[in-house]
């Protein structure tokens, strides 16, 4: 299978001081602190290849490195070690509130973000009616995004990224937002894209959803790749592990 994305021995780490030091004053005070800051490994030597047309689900507990992996695939996080090779145009839809400038209108944001997704303004102009129609924006397309509800925001973001002809689509829990009608509508569109051969990588805590939509599962834990393979196998192993650890956690208190 022709690869769409390849990760070679990728590691991402950061010092936990990153999360505390935000000022020169704190840094100067910290000069006299002899404790070594802990290094947090968000991804630890991960290598994988995602083939064209595959739909891949990423599972793991909170802090496992799922979102970091997705951001490395989207070339948003630059790995400390290893490299990513992207053979296809990657379009990420990672979280609500990211990507749209709050002071600008929906229309202006479509043009601006469209360029980041590889869509020149002329093409955005041509696609804008269908983007607005799918997102059910009505007259709100010319309203600053800061006045949108979270549902409107999600509809516009999803509509835009699926309209710009992605070759690889990265989704991070984004399908769980919006009302039920929108969730159904967006899932239908996502399935259409998958049928057209668009490679999709989805991060979700909803294992049943991933099992129904994906043909491959990747399981991460503490930044390491635990399992990578057929959906049924990996899902069973993951469920077994969760059940086991749940019992282990429950034991002391019971």
């Amino acid at each position: 299978m022709t690869p769409a994305l390849e990760l070679h021995d990728v590691s991402v780490w950061f010092r936990d001081t990153n999360l505390r030091h935000r000022s020169l004053k704190q840094a100067l005070v910290h000069l006299f602190d002899r404790r070594q800051p802990a290094v947090v490994a968000a991804l630890d030597r991960v290598s994988l290849s995602i083939g064209e047309g595959q739909s891949v689900g990423i599972i793991g507990r909170n802090g496992a490195g799922k979102s970091t992996l997705l951001r490395v695939l989207g070339q948003i996080i630059i790995p400390n070690r290893g490299r990513l090779v992207a053979h296809r145009r990657v379009v990420p839809l990672l979280s609500l509130g990211v990507g749209f400038h709050p002071e600008m209108t929906g229309r202006e944001n479509c043009y601006l973000v469209g360029t980041l997704l590889g869509f020149p303004p002329a093409l955005t102009t041509a696609r804008l009616p269908s983007i607005a129609e799918f997102a059910e924006m009505g007259e709100f397309l010319d309203t600053p995004v800061k006045n949108y509800s979270s549902g409107m925001y999600a509809r516009l973001a999803f509509s835009l990224v699926t309209e710009v002809e992605p070759e690889v689509l990265l989704l991070d829990e984004i399908l769980s937002v919006g009302d039920e009608f929108f969730q159904r509508k967006s899932q239908e569109r996502l399935q259409q894209l998958m049928r057209r051969g668009v490679t999709t990588v989805i991060v979700s805590h909803n294992l049943d959803y991933l099992v129904s939509q994906c043909d491959r599962l990747i399981w991460l834990d503490q930044g390491k790749l635990v399992a990578d393979g057929a959906v049924a196998e990996v899902a069973r192993a993951y469920r077994d592990c969760l059940g086991h650890s749940d019992r282990a956690v429950a034991a002391p208190g019971s």
């Binding site: 004053k25 070339q75 990672l94 749209f100 400038h101 601006l112 980041l116």
Partner: protein
């Protein structure tokens, strides 16, 4: 990559438009604000200094117009990477686009101020010198200086969010201790002359003041010091950016 460059242009345009969106005069404020600021400042300084109004205003503005660009652009660029999270946490976009967009938006302000200066030269019937033809090159050097300083500051600010007041203080000190604000003759004595010799801002200011106010060509030393300052700032900014950009994401 091609469309990402279009993003740079669109974002710059949006920054200019957003600045005065909703204001009664809209985009006209981009011209009016620097013009009114300079006219008011020139009047106040001339009264305080009790000098010939027209003469002092022309001298002051010849240095203040590029300095204001440097000051304003540095202030706008300083938090540009740190506040770019709305885009950079969601999409692949080079971080340096954000200080570059702010620089572009401030360039509009600079050109408006420059036009105000030219209008004042007409108003005060100040002679136009042949040497003023060199001004586009002077603008280019100031642009490089500002790009370098702004890039350095925008990278440092990601890690140290409290540097803004320090930078503002530094900029103010640089303004009031250089020939942007006072004429060289004001500083008499050996210490004053040494200060004028070692202060690079005086050489930067000379690129505008000499053609506009004195009607002479800037010296080779003025160009050398200014270009060397710009090169140092750009190299330092680029080195900081390249070595630290992989950490930016974790500091948003």
């Amino acid at each position: 990559m091609q469309t990402q460059r279009i993003f740079l242009l669109l974002h710059t345009k949006d920054l200019v438009r957003l600045r005065f969106r909703g204001a009664c005069l809209g985009l006209a404020w981009n011209i009016l604000q620097p013009a009114l600021y300079l006219m008011l400042l020139g009047f106040v300084f001339a009264v305080v200094n009790q000098s010939n109004y027209a003469d002092f205003v022309v001298y002051l503005f010849a240095g203040l117009v590029p300095w204001r660009f440097f000051d304003q652009a540095c202030s706008a660029m300083i938090d540009s990477i740190a506040s770019s999270a709305v885009f950079t946490r969601g999409f692949r976009v080079p971080y340096f686009y954000f200080p570059a967009s702010e620089l572009g938006a401030q360039l509009i302000d600079f050109l408006a101020s420059f036009l105000t200066l030219l209008a004042l030269l007409l108003l005060f019937k100040t002679p136009w010198h042949l040497q003023m033809l060199i001004l586009p090159l002077s603008v280019l050097v100031w642009l490089l200086l500002t790009a370098g300083a702004g890039l350095c500051l925008s990278v440092i600010f990601v890690f140290f969010r409290d540097i803004r007041p320090i930078v503002q203080m530094g900029l103010m000190l640089a303004l009031f201790s250089s020939t942007v604000f006072f004429k060289p003759a004001t500083l008499s004595g050996r210490a004053g002359q040494i200060w004028l010799t070692i202060n690079p801002v005086c050489y930067w200011a000379a690129l505008f003041q000499k053609p506009i106010y004195y009607g002479v060509w800037p010296l080779a030393l003025d160009w050398t010091v200014s270009l060397a300052s710009a090169a140092v700032l750009i190299l330092l900014g680029t080195a900081l950016y390249r070595s630290l950009r992989h950490k930016f994401y974790f500091y948003f």
